[in-house]
Amino acid sequence: AEEGKRTYIVHMAKSAKPAEFEEHRGWYDASLKSVSETAEIIYSYETAIHGFSARLTAAEAEAIESTPGTLSVLPEMRYELH
């Protein structure tokens, strides 16, 4: 199931959270589940960005990008020490 998956950082518009969700984390979970039954949130971000990271296929990443409230879906990048 992990084949073809990579980590994405999903940026969400905080103000777009539907009222039915009390917490942003619940909204992120629901957004993720709407495109993947198996994907799980790696991190839910609170201050540096609004959004979360998750392992997704390219198709799932594309699908979540068109979910309401999603701003962008960025593939994980590897940084190096200087």
């Binding site: 980590t7 103000s15 971000y45 201050t47 540096a48 960005i49 994980e76 990048m77 590897r78 200087h82």
Partner: protein, 659 residues
């Protein structure tokens, strides 16, 4: 670090520095490979209670308990979920799944920024002295986001997320990756949020110099730090059989070479592979190097690994020569065998001797630590260079600081070379990189924050930049070791940091989050892209004219379209205007402007030429007009704008680029 506090004038001006109480309220967060808490650099003797605003934690994990933190090291967290999601579970036999630093890099950077005072520090006797961070009274919080397999953006973002929540005042990140638009770069995005919370973010510029356009971490809300040398060296002389001696550098400690000349061979001549000159693993013929000194070329594999390869193949010593890629820059290493590093021209001279003499011989003489080396600082060849490849109108790097042969704290889990076969353990190590210069600036920013708690991150950066210097005391321009010629603002930014002057800059260029949003509008970012960076709905005003040139930055980068401007000498000029606002943070006074330019092709005028400031906080604006004649594409010229009241000099570098 040893020597840098003196080199920066901190030791000589201790009375001007902030008192203990305010200094110990400042918290420096370091995103890196973690921390070695047993290092004496994190001794908390003399520290009072942890600031009440602190919300951080000391997380437990492999060989790390809550007791590892104290009143100095007040926080330690680790972020590995992104790393494990990609590469699988951490092998805890190889690296600690905890804040513990198995690499050394994180302990080095955090102790450089804010390590406690440690007397009797050295690496095998080299660089001996009293070691301390730039802000020795500040508190340290370590966020481990880098692992054996690298630093993943999901973990970095999580680290920044927590550091902001925990309440750090300064964030130090000696890492980078690629060159992406700001809305695609996790470090830039996370740093924006930090900046909004009043946290100064200091990042390394990268080690991809001296190539142009090689900078990373160029967002204008980040302080981007390049590297320069100290006035300290570790000479190790190569003495050839023909009587000639050549200078090199080394941190080798151990049994010296026999006191007689030894045979010396060129690695490329004692190997059966085409790249044998590089002394890569398994490429040297033991029969041909046994008992000899081997001359290896720098490149591809780590410098210290070359020494290990020579040693394991039976070599008795090594001379490591730079090639054109590194020129004359000498970086000292704690090699496992007697070895010295020499510049390209020296290497060429030694090769000529080795190739021409039927029985060439040499020996290496280790001379310890030498201080007072001049000229210093010089810009390190490896330090990444501008122009800024994302927004050329923002001049980067912002500043340079010591980053060559820096002694600071080290991990007890690994030897000074970082090689698996290096069984030595040291409390301090000497290494080089913009990773080392970045935490110098982070610590100095903490000092300024302690002295001026109300200063914004932009004001702190402005103070550091406008008081930086780019010429030596004798008036000669600062050198670039890559060329041996004067360095330019694309190499050193505003210049070399001068923290004592930065404490009292006179005037500053402030920036608020709103200014950066206007900057993003000037880049024609979509509202979605702006929201990704700024985490809020923000719509650029369609009626408003946004200009990158008007970001209130402490430096000037003028970009001229070579196609639009006339060809050289043929007539019409291009006129570019930049507006800036200065804020008084000193006594009342009248400041007068002066300008310099390296070329008749660039005329700089300032309006008004005199600004009078009353009480602290008073603001005045001015406009700079750059009148530029035609030059070929890729041309660059430089200049400087200074405001002075006779006591303070508020300097800004100018770079003009024809694209």
């Amino acid at each position: 670090t040893t020597r840098t506090p003196t080199f920066l004038g901190l030791d000589q001006n201790a009375a001007m520095l902030p008192a203990s109480d305010s200094a110990s309220d400042v918290i420096v967060g370091v995103l890196d490979t973690g921390v070695w808490p047993e290092s004496p650099s994190f001794d908390d003797a003399g520290f009072g209670a942890v600031p009440s605003s602190w919300k951080g934690e000391c997380e437990i994990g492999t060989n790390f308990t809550k007791l590892k933190c104290n009143k100095k090291l007040i926080g330690a967290r680790f972020f590995a979920k992104g790393y494990e999601a990609t590469l699988g579970p951490i092998d805890e036999s190889k690296e600690s799944k905890s804040p513990r630093d198995d690499d050394g890099h994180g302990t080095h950077t955090s102790s450089t920024a804010a390590g406690s005072v440690v007397s009797g520090a050295s690496l095998f006797g080299y660089a001996a002295g009293t070691a301390r961070g730039m802000a020795p009274r500040a508190r340290v919080a370590a966020y481990k986001v880098c692992w054996v397999g690298g630093c993943f953006s999901s973990d970095i973002l999580a680290g920044i997320d927590k550091a902001i929540e925990d309440g750090v005042n300064v964030l130090s990140m000696s890492l980078g990756g690629g060159m992406s638009e700001y809305y695609r770069d996790s470090v830039a995005i996370g740093s924006f949020a930090a900046m909004e919370k009043g946290i100064l973010v200091s990042c390394s510029a990268g080690n991809a110099g001296p190539s142009k356009y090689s900078l990373s971490n160029v967002a204008p809300w980040i302080t981007t730090v390049g590297a320069g040398t100290l006035d300290r060296d570790f000479p190790a002389i190569v003495s050839l059989g023909n009587g000639k001696n050549f200078s090199g550098v080394s941190l080798f400690k151990g049994d010296s070479l026999p006191g007689k000349p030894l045979p010396i061979v060129y690695a490329g001549n004692v190997s059966n592979v085409t790249n044998g000159n590089l002394c890569m693993t398994g490429t040297l013929n033991p029969d041909k190097i046994k008992g000899k000194i081997v001359l290896c070329d720098r490149g591809i594999n780590p410098r210290v690994q070359k020494g290990s390869v020579v040693k394991s193949a039976g070599g008795i010593g090594m001379v490591l020569t730079n090639t054109a890629a590194n020129g004359e820059e000498l970086v000292a290493d704690a090699h496992l065998l007697p070895a010295t590093a020499v510049g390209e021209s020296t290497g060429d001279a030694i090769k000529q001797y080795v190739f021409s003499d039927p029985n060439p011989t040499a020996t290496i003489l280790f001379q310890g630590t030498k201080v007072g080396v001049e000229p210093s600082p010089v810009v390190a060849a490896f330090s990444s260079r501008g122009p800024n490849s994302i927004t050329q109108q923002i001049l980067k790097p912002d500043i340079i600081a010591p980053g060559v042969n820096i002694l600071a704290g080290w991990s007890g889990a690994i030897g000074p070379t970082g090689l698996a076969e290096d069984g030595r353990r040291v409390g301090f190590n000497i290494i080089s990189g913009t990773s080392m210069s970045c935490p110098h600036v982070s610590g100095l920013a903490a000092l300024l924050k302690a002295a001026h708690p109300d200063w914004s991150p932009a004001v702190i950066r402005s103070a550091l930049m406008t008081t930086a210097y780019s010429s030596y005391k004798d008036g000669k321009l600062m050198e670039d070791v890559a060329t041996g010629k004067p360095s330019t603002p694309f190499d050193h930014g505003a210049g070399h940091v001068d923290p004592v002057s930065a404490l009292n800059p006179g005037l500053v260029y402030d920036l608020l989050p709103q200014d950066y949003l206007n900057f993003l509008c000037a880049l024609n970012y979509t509202s979605g892209q702006i929201t990704s960076v700024a985490r809020r709905n923000f719509t650029c005003d369609a009626q408003k004219s946004y200009s990158v040139n008007d970001l209130n930055y402490p430096s000037f980068s003028v970009v001229v379209d070579a196609q639009m401007s006339s060809t050289a000498g043929s007539g019409s000029d291009t006129v570019v205007k930049h507006t800036r606002t200065l804020t008084n943070v000193g006594p009342a006074g009248t400041y007068k402007a002066s300008v310099t330019s390296t070329s008749d092709s660039v005329k700089i005028s300032v309006d008004p030429t005199s600004l009078t400031f009353g009480q602290s906080g008073e603001k005045n604006s001015y406009t700079v007009t750059f009148t530029v004649t035609g030059m070929p594409s890729n041309s660059n010229e430089f200049g400087r704008i200074e405001w002075s009241d006779g006591k303070h000099v508020v300097g800004s570098p100018v770079a003009v680029s024809w694209t």
